[in-house]
Amino acid sequence: MVLEKLKNIIAEQLDVEKEDIKLESSFQNDLGADSLDVVELIMAIEEDFEIEIPDEDAEKISIVKDAVDYINNNK
């Protein structure tokens, strides 16, 4: 469920196809995001999942799986 919802957010934020988003996909290396795109993505995740991701944690989220784990552990 989390992954499905997350994929929708990522697809919209980064203008990528949903089927190209894998658990191992790196936002910056595989999905073409720059560091500012990642900030926007993190903020969209915060809003849609109603969680807070402090900068220390946000720094460690670099692949899709990192985000899924973070959301599961913090919602």
């Binding site: 720059d34 560091s35 500012l36 900030v39 903020m43 402090p54 900068d55 946000a58 720094e59």
Partner: protein, 312 residues
């Protein structure tokens, strides 16, 4: 027009912040700008903490007025520098090249004001949320490492989205630029290139002359291909670089050419083979004068522009 939330926050006379450029924003420049009523800023660049500590101590001897330190967050010494700043307790820390979120609370606890440089609305909002005191919003007109958006478009968009005061940067070098920034909703300006061309700045005289002699189209952008765009003044170095950038397989050679190239120009004065980082405002800068005259002239011209605006 000069009495804004920024002057109150920083306890300065004019809301004119000097850009914290690596290598050339030393104690000499920072103290001169602060003495003239603005906010001088020491630039860390990629220098180690002990070097910056010495600059801070030197500046404290040269002025009793508030001054700041700019921390480049991609510096390999960033954690050491922050530790040192927790001890030195400077008035203001500005940050560039990243997200300073994790340092903000500690800096604020010791009374240091934190003002991140941001190139986008999202980062601006995030910085406000984690407690930034103000924001420097920098447009692509600036020199050195730059973002995509122009000052004219990004400043009002950030002003609309945050409640903390905004300082406009990128392309501002005179009173017209100051008034324009205020019109966009900014409550202060950050100025880099104009202050490089000051008597007090330790940059090599050939570097300053290169900026003074630059024409409107001379401040170009390199490095888009490597993802780190940098604005520099056109010269033999930039031509070589642009040729190499046509083919991404030259990345190794590009790295070799660019490493140390800024110091070569700014400090050693090798303006043909070094990287002459400077903003688009270079074309507006016609002379080298002292910091007091730079600031006084900006104030005078701003007042003139304001009265003109009141009469049209």
């Amino acid at each position: 027009m000069f009495d804004t939330r920024i002057t109150k926050l920083l306890n300065i006379k004019y809301p004119i912040i000097q850009g914290g450029m690596a290598w050339v924003a030393t104690a000499e420049l920072a103290s001169a700008v602060s003495e003239a009523g603005g906010l001088g800023v020491i630039g860390c660049g990629a220098a180690p903490a002990d070097i910056i500590k010495k600059e801070i101590q030197k500046a404290k001897e040269m002025t009793d007025k508030p001054f700041g330190v700019n921390v480049m967050l991609m510096s390999p010494f960033v954690d050491d520098i922050m530790e040192m700043l927790y001890e030195e307790k400077v008035s203001v820390v500005t940050t560039g090249a990243g997200n300073p979120g994790k340092y903000i609370e500690k800096l604020k606890n010791i009374g240091t004001k934190v003002i991140p440089v941001v190139p986008s609305v999202a980062l601006a909002k995030r910085m406000e949320k984690v407690g930034a005191d103000a924001l420097i919003v920098e447009g692509t007109e600036a020199g050195g490492h730059i973002g995509e958006l122009t000052t004219f478009t990004i400043v009002p968009q950030v002003v609309d989205e945050v409640d903390i005061p905004v300082i406009a940067a990128g392309g501002i070098a005179d009173g017209r630029g100051y008034v324009a920034a205020v019109s966009l909703g900014a409550e202060g300006v950050q100025i880099g290139t104009r202050f490089v061309c000051s008597e007090e700045c330790i940059a090599h005289i050939e570097y300053k002359n290169k900026i003074v002699n630059a024409r409107d189209r001379d401040a170009i952008v390199t490095g888009r291909i490597t993802g780190h765009p940098v604005r520099i003044i056109k010269n033999k170095f930039s031509k070589k670089l642009i040729n190499l950038e046509k083919d991404i397989s030259n990345k190794g050679e590009i790295d070799r050419l660019t490493i140390g190239s800024y110091k070569k120009a700014a400090i050693d004065g090798e303006i043909d083979q070094g990287s002459v980082m400077a903003g688009q405002s270079s074309g507006l800068i016609k002379d080298i004068k002292n910091c007091k005259n730079i600031i006084d002239d900006i104030i005078k011209e701003s007042n003139k522009v304001q009265s003109y605006l009141c009469n049209i």
